[in-house]
């Protein structure tokens, strides 16, 4: 019953679906990477996972994907409170791509969406579908470009478009914008943030961008082998544990952030 209460509180524009992790853990050989994780990830929420390198952030995503084995429970409840397998969209880190291969954006789309070998060419229907998907992330001009020729921001938008087709219940973003310039990051975060209104999905985002997270995330989870701290950006940033470990970094990033509203306010004042 308590679970249902939590779900109800988080209803936004979408349904009642929810991904639950109970006593979740991952162990490689004798090394315990993650343990004792209890999380409810609600539909319509952008949940950000932060933590030091080696904290197990990517491993958590890979375990949710089913790529690595885990202990404990992981299940997805849809709006009728029935358990089913969720459709998962995944945007990997940019570094994991072999950008020398002659693969066009359309090739990548078709490989995901159809079983017809992409080396035989593409059907018109698929081309239109891919083009429409790309248009939703402002990337339809990239359809025939080679993956290796895309900039970091462009590649991530293409991957985001792919993750959204077919429409997922759960969207996993693994440091999607690391190493991308600030304009690219802003554009990407804006797109992801808008998804909450357009789609019925929950988003889990692994990131290091404190300042952007505080603006866009609904909830932040500090992960280091287990959940250290969890709450709204304000709660997490004022948490003592977090401040002790990341204080300087947060203050610096938040400082940058506070600068912006001040300038806007100043402008408004002049007009008045």
């Amino acid at each position: 019953m308590a679970d249902i209460g939590i779900i109800k509180k988080s209803i936004k524009s979408c349904g009642l679906c929810c991904t639950k992790l109970e006593n979740f853990g991952v162990t490689f050989g004798k090394t315990e990477i993650l343990s004792g994780i209890d999380l409810h990830i609600h539909c319509g929420d952008l949940t950000a996972i932060v933590g030091p390198n080696g904290a197990g952030k990517s491993t958590l995503l890979k375990a949710i994907l089913g790529e690595v084995g885990y202990t404990g429970k992981l299940y997805f409840l849809d709006s009728e409170d029935c358990q089913r397998n969720p459709v998962v969209g995944y945007v990997p880190q940019r570094l994991d791509f072999d950008l020398g291969a002659p693969i066009s954006v359309l090739d990548l789309f078709s490989a995901c969406l159809s079983s017809r070998p992409v080396c035989l060419g593409h059907s018109r229907r698929l081309r239109e579908r891919a083009s429409a998907s790309l248009a939703s992330v402002q990337a339809d001009h990239l359809l025939d470009r080679c993956l290796g020729d895309l900039s970091g921001g462009e590649l991530q938008r293409v991957l985001l478009a792919m993750a959204l087709d077919p429409s997922p219940d759960l969207l996993l973003l693994d440091e999607p914008v690391s190493g991308i310039d600030i304009q690219g990051k802003e554009l990407f975060y804006n797109l992801v943030s808008d998804l909450r209104q357009q789609y019925d999905l929950s988003i889990i985002l692994v990131s290091h961008d404190w300042s952007l997270l505080s603006r866009y995330a609904d909830r932040i989870i500090l992960l280091d082998r287990t959940v250290q701290c969890c709450g709204t950006p304000e709660e997490v940033f004022s948490n003592e544990k977090v401040l002790r470990a990341y204080g300087p970094a947060i203050r610096e990033e938040l400082g940058k952030l506070r600068l912006k509203p001040k300038i806007i306010h100043g402008g408004g004042g002049v007009h008045a």
Binding site: L65, P92, A101, D144
Partner: protein, 279 residues
């Protein structure tokens, strides 16, 4: 086969095509080339050049085991052995988490050494040297039929699995999120590579079989922009260098496999020089 002989007699009335062994070899080249072209593109995508090399070299141990068991024609023993090895390597890779090239390097050297030790017992290694260099001209009609089945098998497998192979090679996590059983697909690809390489080894030769797999794909990669171009160019390069290599080896009386590889290497060099124009 009769139809093929009649076809060659009618359309290719040259001195070289009078010999039956050349007719067989030409058909074999035409069958093997597309298989190697489409396998090679995927091997290069998967960064598995070293893996296929190891499978080739390990054929020595396969032959040795066949000889120990007293088989005249060690082909089936070689195939079974290389499949087991391919599965073992992919398991080892997943279990130890060690860098793949380290695992493969260790296996490769061990297998070559083991093969040489067994085969050289009593000083009789020379009679196996045909496996090192390969002899395409010795192919007989029965073996050509084996190649026909291989081509059909690979075409069928590619028709069903190509997109899955491609996604796994691009990014395993992405493939996993699309519901593809990554490990199974990877292992299937390793096994297919092992079977194809091992079947072809007695005609192409252990020493150069990997170049035949890698060079056309690497050349096509330089000048193609999408998967379709990549495959078409790769198939054209293998067919051209295959036929050219066969003919030249006839006139120069050189080893056929090596001559084919040299032509493929020329293509690679050419496309490397053209590359700036295409990027």
């Amino acid at each position: 086969m009769e139809i093929w002989y009649a076809f060659v007699d009618h359309f290719l009335p040259f001195a070289w095509s009078q010999h039956t062994f050349m007719k067989n070899a030409l058909l074999a080249v035409l069958l093997v080339s597309p298989v190697f072209a489409i396998m090679g593109t995927m091997v290069v995508n998967n960064k598995m050049a070293f893996f296929s090399d190891t499978i080739g070299h390990s054929a020595l141990t396969g032959i040795a085991i066949g000889v120990l068991l007293g088989f005249q024609d060690p082909l089936w023993i070689m195939v079974i052995f290389s499949v087991l090895l391919a599965v073992a390597i992919s398991l080892l890779k997943n279990m130890t988490g060690a860098s793949t090239d380290t695992v493969i390097g260790a296996v490769s050297a061990t297998m070559v050494a083991l093969g040489i030790v067994i085969l050289s017992r009593g000083g009789g290694f020379n009679k196996f040297s045909r496996f090192l260099v390969g002899d395409l001209l010795s192919i007989n009609p029965k073996e050509v039929f084996l190649l026909v089945f291989t081509l059909m098998g690979v075409t069928l497998l590619w028709g069903i699995m190509f997109n899955k192979f491609l996604l796994v090679s691009i990014n395993p996590s992405l493939a996993r999120s699309r519901g593809i059983p990554v490990r199974l697909v990877e292992t299937l690809f390793c096994i297919t590579t092992a079977v194809i390489v091992t079947i072809s080894i007695q005609w192409v030769g252990i020493l150069i079989i990997n170049s035949l797999l890698i060079l056309p794909a690497a050349a096509a990669r330089n000048i193609s922009r999408n998967m379709r171009q990549y495959h078409v160019i790769s198939i054209l390069i293998t067919l051209t260098s295959g036929v050219a290599g066969l003919l030249m080896s006839y006139y120069w009386s050189t080893a056929t496999g090596a001559t084919i590889v040299l032509f493929a290497a020329l293509f690679y060099l050419g496309t490397l020089l053209l590359k700036p124009r295409f990027s």
